[in-house]
Structure formats: C-alpha cells, structure tokens
C-alpha cells in the first residue's frame, strides 16, 4: 500500500462515517467530473482521423448496432 496515501484514505473514510449527509455532494461532483472529462475526450477523439475506430478499439465494442456514432 502507498505509505502516506493510506492516511489520506483513512481520513476521508472517517469523514464519510462521521458525516453521513455531507460526503455525498463532494463525492458526486468528483465522480461526475471524471465522466464529463471522458465525454469531452470522446468528442475530441471522434473528430480526429480514425477516431471512431480508435474508440471502438479502446472499448472493445463488437456490437456496432448499439452505438449510433459507430455507424
């Protein structure tokens, strides 16, 4: 386990335990930001040459019918 980082993990876990109504908003903003970042990466990649193929390969999508942007 990464030394130093584990203290941070433990400190946040204690915050979650002691503040059951406060942690979620912070957490939701963090998780949603990751997916928003992914969506903008995806949009950029789709505009690049072979972007569609790269994305298909990245996510190993074999069912093209399910993803309109692959058609």
């Amino acid at each position: 386990m990464r030394e130093g980082h584990i203290e941070q993990v433990e400190r946040w876990a204690r915050f979650v335990k002691e503040n059951p109504t406060k942690w979620k908003k912070i957490h939701t903003d963090f998780i949603d930001a990751l997916f928003e970042k992914h969506d903008s990466f995806r949009d950029k990649l789709l505009q690049m040459p072979n972007g569609k193929e790269k994305l298909q390969k990245l996510y190993d999508i074999r069912n093209k019918e399910g993803y309109g942007w692959l058609k």
Partner: protein, 184 residues
Amino acid sequence: MERQIEDRNILDRFCEEFCAVVEEHYKYIVVSGFLAIASGRTRGTEDIDMIIERLDLDKFKLLFEDLTKKGFVCMQSSSTEEVYDYLKDNTSVRFTWKDKELPEMEVKFAKDVLDEYQLKTRVKFELTGLDVWFSNVNVNIAFKEELLKSSKVLEDARHLRIVYAEQVDEKEVQSVKQLIKRFR
C-alpha cells in the same frame, strides 16, 4: 437515511437503473470495487461488476429483451444466444446505455460455491443510498485482502473497514479467505 435523487452521480444512476431491470428476472449481486465507491471512496472506475444466478436460455431471453427495451445494449453482441453462450462459458459480458460507451456493467454467471455464498448473503447498504444488492462487507474485504491485493484494492478494503466498522465480522472475513484459498 434517504438520499435526494439529485445527489446521485452517473455511476449510481446507471447501477440502479440496470439493477432494477435485472431484479425482475434474476437474483444478482454487485461485487468488486463499486461498494467502496458507492460508500464514499474517491476513486474512478469505468465499470461495475455483477454476478447473477446461473439460469437457462429461455429466462435469459426475457432479461435481455427487457434490458434492450429499457435502453441498455450489450457491447459484444445484439444476439441473445451469442451473449448467453459467453455467460455459459464463464466469460463476462458488458452492457452500457445505448450509444454510450461508459459506464459499463460487467455481468457474469455465478460459477462456484463462493459466488453462491455471495448471492446467499447479499445485503443492501443504507450508507450508499442505493436500492442495490451488494455482496456483504466481509466478503468484499476478504476478496480484496486475500485475492486482489493491489494498492487500490487494499485501500478500498481499508475504507470499508472504517465506514462499516460495526458490520465487520473477522470470523466471516477469515472463513471467506479460507474459501478463496480453496476455490480461486
């Protein structure tokens, strides 16, 4: 504790929507990292892992049809038979919302006594605010500490040990670790 709908992040919404469909057809559990994340661990993930009871093709067809109607697609194939064959061979299959490559639900059939044990002892966790069945906290900790062991996963276990301190039963953790040594 009832959480507000607007508190739900994209993983929460995806997981609850998917589980609500599966619940109508199969007994399921969400396993691996998502319990730690849904319980406040601040790390990213692209997929959620689910184990479902092993059932026949006819019943699977009904589930597949229902998932499709509710806006989910399988990344490997749109053929029910092909997807069922993957599952039957203990290969996981991945579902997403239509037209979205993320997040994914990685689904597999229960394959041994450990998976059966997890299904039998499944629980819902108030802290997550989600109407979702998870494998219990002791099983989660045992898998992370005995089998998976990466830094990220050991930190997940530490997080679970703190937020669910009252529910951790060392006897069960140890007995699941013994099962893991025997079957995995």
